[in-house]
Amino acid sequence: MTFFLQNLVNALQWGSFYALIALGYSMVYGVLMLFNFAHGDIFMVGAYIGFGVATGIAALASLGMIALPGWITLVLTIIISMILTSFVGILVERIGYRPLREAPRASAAITGLMIGIILETGNLALLGARRISFPPMIESVTYNLGGVFVTNKKIMIVAVSISLMIALSQFIKKTKWGMAMRAMAYDYAVIPLMGVPLNTIAALTFALGSALAAAAGILFGVAYPVLDPYMGIVFGWKAFVAAILGGRGSILGATLAGFLLGFIEIFVAMIFPSTLRDLIAYSIILMILVFRPHGFFGEPYSAKLRL
């Protein structure tokens, strides 16, 4: 039982990365009906920006200008990197997607893929092909809860990601901007006629998704402090699958599917040799999609979508 609970804790942490990234895919899909294939790489960029910000704050602190406790550094890092990365997201939308609004959707998928490649290669060219270790910002403390070992990092990661998800869903439900996003998801063609600025909403959607991806990147860096330029590929594509599994455009679905994917992966690795992890995870997803093609919360195709 403790073994199971221990893995459950690990799965919660692992799944929260997937869920945070999947939300970005799902939101963009809901509003613009296209997949942002560069999103995995925005996650990577977010992690690197987080690395830069954390290093910068540490450098300032060592110069004696400010002295901050570790967790304040972490919070600052997360907030600043989320803001910076959202600009990256806006840039991606401006360059790769806005000119293709009227084009076939597959073309936009290609530009997304290509922007992803440019981000990876640009990172390689700037920082070289070495792995970077993320600066440790908080001391790791382990609690023993009846045989289940929980670190403060794990608690922090799950807490931060769940609160971000709640914040996002409140934003979409309660604010005017969120309402505009929902309206856009409901009817892409008519809502601009009502005076809702399409381009602004699209940029906002990308900014929000990218900010969440940046948060996921930093949390990932805190948990597994090694960054490499191709980390976005592995995570991005799996989160993409999770976004679909949840049902396209469904925030709740993406969150749940992200956690589900985390659970599947952790428990498969627990029972079977870990080389079978991808095989079994993807086979389960394939089975789910064959029998329920529109995911958990999605509507069958050609129906209208709601956020």
């Binding site: 790769g96 530009t111 290509m114 699958v241 679909i244 396209r248 394939l286």
Partner: protein, 435 residues
Amino acid sequence: MEKEKDREISKRKKVTDKIRLWFSHVPFIGWLLGCLLAVVVEQIFGSMVASMIGLPKIPALFGFVIILKEPFLTPSAIIYVLIIYLLPVFLIARFGSAWLNALARKLLSLPGWMTTLLYLLLMYGILHIWSDISAYRVLTMKLMMIAVILTLSLNVINGYMGEFSCSHPGFMAIGAYVSSALTVMLFADDKLFGPALLPPALGPYLFPLALIAGGAAASIGALVIAIPSFRTRGDYLAIISLAFMFIVKSIIENLEVVGGPRGMGSQPDYANLPTVFIWTVACIWIINNFVTSTRGKALNAIRDDELAAEAMTVNTRQTKMTAFLFSAFWAGVAGGLFAHVLRYVNPGTFGIQKLAEVLAMVYFGGLNSVYGSIFGAVSLSLLEEFLRPLELFKWIIIPLLLIFVMIYRPTGLIAFREFNFQKMIQPRKTPDKEV
């Protein structure tokens, strides 16, 4: 002043018109003969010319690599290309249009299969003589032709049927592994499968069967995508195919029989230039016939409106099934050839990167077009080789180029054009007398 300028412009226009006029009368055979002359000239005088203008050796790929590697050799490289390639082609095209047209007409009067055969022999001759210069050219040429097969097969699904399939690297992997397992098991002494079961002399003759077996295995794999495609379309099918690709990769990584993640080597060297050329020609011919047939038109109907197509008595299930199996077959053949050209495969090759590459070729060249696929595959694989000296920046320039193409021509450069060999080899009209 103004008048002079106008005259200048009209003069220039006249010159370009004249050039266009010269060249519009050159039939296809003229260009082929020009290329043949060029490669023969290179074969005979190439190294002499190269050493005369200060190049270390014959430029491997039209001097692009030299220009990027050693910029001060740029003039020499340009002179080389001008003298060796452009001059012979230009001469033949400029002065030969009358007898070339006569020749084209004469060739057309032969039986159809003989005309085709002659043209193919001519094309193969050009390729063979050109790539005879270095092993690097042979390899580039083979990989380029394999890219053509793969791109065409993906275009059947993504272009003609309008689905977004991400599974082609998976089909390719199945084809590569099945055919290499067969050839390695039967014709090679290897530590994975032990000594050869059949005399290796039989190998080259049975190699096509191994490729077909690889393609058939890929087709069977395609059932995993074809059957869900009855119920769903678009994005969900894209994900199913993506998951399929990851599953294939993962299965191969876990199959120790074929070497697992370390890959599989020591395939016999059967995929020589003529073999790859014949398979490529067969692929272009068969796929072109398929997409211009009734069933190909049914694919277009399904793409544009599935319900309407069904109402018009198109058997959508059967059509989708055929398209997927057919496309997967060719992807499998391409994979088999790929494995035997490199004589080593590992599962890491058939991942997201390969997918991005093939998709780029399809969408760069043009959807729904055999011309486009050939153009996309050839130009992108050549571009990759040209920009090789730039190392990392290659992967910034090529994606940027694709983004521009997508922004200005969202369906690709040569989309929606039918490929017609008969039309291509027609003689051009003899020039009308100028009034």
